[in-house]
Symmetry: C2
Subunit: 346 residues, 2 copies
């Protein structure tokens, strides 16, 4: 992988430009603080608002799956395979390995004439409790369809049928990943030389700036300036995500829960290590959040706070307020504290 001495050196300064975004309260005490950075962009690529170092180089992890799925749709591969919106949503998903995710992934693989063994994402115990405990009771091991990325990977395999690449579709120089990389950097507007890492699912994850990630989300929200097959693909993927929040994540997954609370107006996506993205078609805006320490609990609250500041959601709505300042209870159900946006976001 590319060694980015400058970017790595900057980051190892401890993300000095970061801002306190979220606080964890216990009783009368601020027990924890989560620092980070966040950016809101419009479709022209302009920064509308930012907190902390908006220009930092970062790893988007799963928050950019809808960008990785663009070639699947714009190439015509999705239509060749007759993919319905629910499968497009799965191709953008970090799912919890519930039956609603694994059953359609297995059916999709079978329709492609492929099997679980053609996936290269690795096996993962499902986050979904029923699925996980069902496997334990049946004394069965989880397989690759339970991996939270199995929809994305089945999308990769679907694209690969059109591109005619080999079986190792996760290699960075494979036609599938070259297509994903082109789409990713075209949408973020960032330098293709930023480098990549190996993601949890073994696919390459390309580095970008936090502003670039927000810019890509804004272009997904309003792809009119892009035009052509890519714009149509962006609209289809965003619509598929908004129409299928439970497929993009699952029960109790933060992106799913937030999408439901917002009534389908916003497409949201979480990523490992504290990344969260939002696509707001009605406003033509994109949002990207990165928590320095990688905490998902903080990324979700920071994103909720930004959506409230943008007027997309209201703290007066009890369902949304419960996500903006989630209460924390202990093992006897006693309320012990809350998580809340820090002053900069409140």
């Amino acid at each position: 992988m590319t060694d980015l001495s400058a970017a790595a050196a900057a980051a190892s300064g401890g993300f000095a430009g970061s801002a306190p975004l979220v606080e964890v309260i216990r009783g009368a005490f601020v027990e924890c603080v989560h620092r980070g950075a966040a950016v809101v962009c419009d479709a022209s690529g302009d920064v509308v608002a930012s907190w902390g170092d908006a220009g930092r180089v970062m790893l988007p992890r799963s928050s950019c799956k809808m960008l990785q799925a663009l070639p699947l749709v714009e190439s015509g591969a999705a239509d060749d395979a007759g993919l319905c919106p629910s499968r497009l949503a799965l191709s953008c998903a970090s799912h919890r390995g519930a039956a609603i995710h694994t059953v359609p992934v297995r059916a999709w693989l079978a329709e492609l004439g492929l099997a679980e063994s053609d996936l290269r994402c690795g096996s993962q115990s499902p986050d979904d409790r029923d699925a996980r405990e069902g496997l334990i009771r049946a004394q069965e091991a989880p397989d690759q369809t339970h991996n939270n990325c199995s929809g994305k990977h089945t999308g990769f395999l679907t694209l690969n049928r059109r591109l005619g690449g080999g079986s190792e579709y996760i290699e960075p120089d494979h036609p599938v990943q070259r297509a994903a990389k082109e789409a990713f950097y075209a949408m973020t507007g960032d330098d293709e030389g930023l480098g990549h890492v190996i993601d949890g699912c073994s696919a390459p994850n390309f580095a970008c700036t936090l502003t670039g990630l927000a810019r890509a989300m804004a272009r997904m929200a309003d792809p009119s300036a892009i035009g052509g097959a890519r714009a149509a693909a962006a609209r289809r993927l965003v619509d598929a995500m908004r129409a299928n929040p439970a497929l993009v994540g699952g029960e109790r997954e933060p992106a799913t829960v937030l999408m439901r609370a917002l009534g389908g107006e916003v497409a949201l996506k979480s990523g490992a290590e504290g990344v969260f993205t939002a696509i707001i078609p009605g406003r033509g805006l994109g949002v990207a959040v990165k928590i320095d320490d990688g905490a998902g609990r903080a990324a979700a609250v920071a994103m909720a706070a930004i959506l409230a500041r943008l007027g997309v959601a209201s703290a007066a709505d009890p369902g949304f307020a419960a996500l903006l300042t989630p209460e924390q209870s202990n093992r006897r159900g006693v309320l012990t504290g809350t998580i809340r946006p820090a002053a900069a976001l409140a």
Copy 2:
């Protein structure tokens, strides 16, 4: 609970005095940074070394269980009940709910003429995989003996038999908690007015300064200046922890793993939300670490780095090096990065 406006206000500034302590590396990138503070004290209470804001007010959570257990031993209640070192270790434990923890806790309760229902810690699904999956296969719910604090609570019940308090031993004004509070502030040397919160196990958790927590650990390491029954109790508890690392935590629990790597020379204890303490009898030193964001992965690496700096452990030992810079692999077993001490600790 006491409202500490000054302390809370200071903390809500985002722990401005904190230092980058730990970095999470993926490929060529610093993906995450964990900030925090750490203090090393000697038994006279002097600060030997510190990183970040050593004076910050914080919640020690389970890292102070050996302080909460002092009244159990010094009162004579432990001897009245014939507690062996393994039960003293359990009284200081945040265990994983394995059979090695729950079986002796149940036996101990029975010897007291009490039952699981006398505990007030709440039920918790065991962190130990065999125990957790065994309950799922048997379609049994976890009970309060599986709670990671069940040993501490059985210790509270043992002390309560001597003190003659009521059944609600977790109430802050109960004789058991008044005794725990007296010992906690005598050992930390902090102001008893700092206040408390409700812990995950429903017992009060008293606030202290990070320096006070390190000072208390140093006094546990060398209680000669304290003298009397408290000094003897401190020695017995520390020896019990060092002799029984698997009872203090469990397989794969960071304090247990570090204690084993150090060959029993150091007593270590993890606490929720990124707290870690060390008692080093051979050097008369105590260490306290608090990670701002609450990440246990960072607290363990920061503690390992400090122990290496103190010369208690060596990075030349492969077993210890694996804890100092733990490798991170993905779901196909591909090495993706490491966690490492940041420059200030390296």
